[in-house]
Symmetry: C2
């Protein structure tokens, strides 16, 4: 029997009772930020639920983790607490449970129409790491920047390549991004110049949100890694390709990426994603033992990017990709990150890198879609090589239930 | 007349009344961490000073910034507050001021012998950035890793190259560092292997500690940059050269650096360093206008690295360098960091990169000193190519007063 909520949820909604993603919101602009979960067109206020004593399990019954302005304290509690919260909330919201359904006063306080709330960053992010785990993206970038000799560097197949990103400039979906200025260098023989980036790009990514984490000097083994991942978010790693191309040798991307990174307000838990696991790609050469998993797992998550050109009414889908295209799994990413003893803290985020697929319309950024601006993309009446001022970019993801 | 304190300070002390560096400490292991300044062999407890009402200036008189377990709130207040604190404290500690000198009770509470305190991280670090600003270091690394064709990449002379470092693994001086494990790759034709790093190195750096900072999207001009730098710390950016060499193309250093970064507990303020400013190197080509300073300034700070080999009694000086060798100034570094709109927050730190000088004994890391392990360094009876388990590394810095 399919679990149903007493709250009506449209079939096309991203927020059925099976999902219940966690976020942080303000019911009114003047209220304190607090945790919530999305259900249909509502946000369930977890501060209100907690105050009403409706978390009565052994871990959350005595916790103040939902009295906080971010999810860090809840994330620190680990998977047993996350499972307890999910099961309490699925029970509370189910069609057959009267506690909330039949309490008009409580329902009015606890269920806030989503159109009225203001979403905030779900976590205080200590460190943000960005991986580079799509083989198609790595290959295309190599072809564009370094040519056909070795599009993918040999180390790529041996370890999940990553770099540290900038945590301070991570913003929640809906925040305007200012076109960055910087140094660029157009051709071999000309002088570098300064100005607004002419190659502003999006990057379709997802990111793992870290749970308990580890102490400095104590790695997390790959088969324990899933216990340290609370869930996944969508992430747009805005990129200025001209700034990036000039600055990135030899220490990697810096100002070409640090002017803004947008994340979704909702974290979809790994528990909600469990029905949508799928096999991970064969890895050849086989990974070193510390990266070899008992059951390598990926997730079948359809991903799209839509662009609404400035001044137009309609958005156009420019990319249809899938999370399952990632070569390195999120558990390999997390375990590799700690293998040198590096400590992860609750709320840290690990981006996957741009998720490109093998097909021409599954490329996760304009750099690839327009081959570094050498061709144009048609968006209804408009064309684009890179983003123009006033353009709106939307990332979206969903899992499809297989109807048997 | 030279300012003197009623506290006796030995001539060779790093902590005369002219310095007064800020840190965070616990008077006893069980007490709360609180801000302090170093004076001679004592730490002056700023929580006690603040509670006693001895900060009576217009900014600090009503502030709780010294009631915090870190300096972030004080740093956020900006240079006027920093100058007020320095002048209040120099007055309070001076030989001619009776308020503290003649109050035995207060003195007992406020002045804690340095040998008894436990030092903590002075700031909560949101983001840590590491620059690459010594030309000698850049050139030597280029020669070692890429050969003599273009030891320094052309972009290096055009902008201060940097990468994002890992904030979570920054620890205060005295904390043990665990030798990292990781993937390495010895030669072109062999397979990558996993194991403890065989090329563990130190890096002699200093770092700027950020004050007020800026909003996302609003750069800080180079001539305003000094107002956002509270002071300088010593930093050892521990590096695993074998892990770094295998992983760093194309996205820069990651696990080769993120297993631990040690900073000094004391932040020496720019105000204390002002008498030791010196000219900055001529920059050729001249910097783009956004990096051109009215008065380019460097600091004449003597720096040394000492290594005490495991099992030996004595430390040996392996490096004598100077902060003034940096090609890009700290104000250029900070302004460049924000030129794309990237926001800096109070407590962020900006490392200079390894500070190597032109002489063979002024190289700031073992990679350079032993030319990637191709020659040995003599340390009394012991020899080293890289660090061995149990070795102790000490970084020290000082400014010399010119006696007229």
């Amino acid at each position: 029997m399919v679990l149903k909520s007493f709250i009506e949820v449209e079939a096309k909604s991203h927020f059925p009772i099976q999902n219940l993603p966690f976020g942080v919101f303000k019911p009114e602009p003047s209220s304190e930020a607090r945790p919530g979960v999305a259900i249909g067109d509502f946000v369930l206020d977890l501060l209100v639920v907690s105050k009403a004593g409706l978390f009565d399990g052994p871990i959350l019954g005595n916790s103040d983790c939902f009295f906080q302005p971010n999810l860090n304290k809840f994330l620190e509690l680990g998977r047993p607490a996350w499972k307890e919260a999910r099961s309490s909330l699925q029970n509370l919201l189910s069609a057959t449970e009267p506690k909330l359904r039949d309490n008009v006063n409580l329902r009015d306080k606890a269920l806030v129409p989503m159109c009225k709330v203001q979403m905030a960053l779900p976590v205080a992010i200590g460190d943000y790491t960005d991986f580079f785990c799509s083989m198609h993206h790595a290959k295309n970038c190599g072809l564009i920047f370094r040519g056909p000799a070795t599009p993918i560097n040999p180390n790529w197949f041996s370890l999940p390549i990553a770099y540290h990103g900038r945590a301070s400039s991570i913003v929640v979906s809906g925040t305007d991004i200012t076109r960055p200025k910087g140094q660029c260098h157009p051709t071999e023989n000309s002088l570098p110049y300064f100005g607004p980036s002419r190659k502003l790009d999006f990057e379709l990514e997802m990111a793992a949100v870290v749970g308990p984490g580890n102490e400095l000097g104590k790695p997390i083994s790959v088969d324990k890694a899933a216990d340290h991942i609370f869930g996944l978010i969508l992430m747009n790693d805005w990129s200025a390709r001209d700034i990036q191309a000039w600055e990135y040798v030899p220490l990697g991307p810096f100002l070409g990426k640090s002017f803004g990174t947008t994340i979704s307000p909702w974290i979809v838990t790994l528990d909600a994603l469990e029905p949508f696991t799928c096999g991970a790609p064969m890895q050849d050469p086989p990974p070193l033992p510390y990266l070899a998993e008992n059951e390598p797992k990926n997730y079948d998550i359809s991903l799209e990017v839509l662009v609404k050109p400035s001044g137009e009414e309609e958005s156009h889908t420019v990319t249809r990709s899938n999370f399952k295209h990632l070569y390195w799994t999120i558990t390999q990413q997390l375990s590799h990150h700690t293998i040198n003893g590096c400590n992860l803290r609750p709320g840290d985020i690990l981006g996957t890198g741009t998720i490109s697929g093998p097909e021409p319309d599954s490329l996760g950024c304009l750099l690839e879609l327009t081959w570094n601006g050498t061709k144009s993309l048609c968006l209804g009446g408009a064309t684009r090589k890179f983003l123009e001022d006033g353009d709106e970019v939307t990332l979206t993801g969903y899992c499809k239930v297989r109807v048997l």
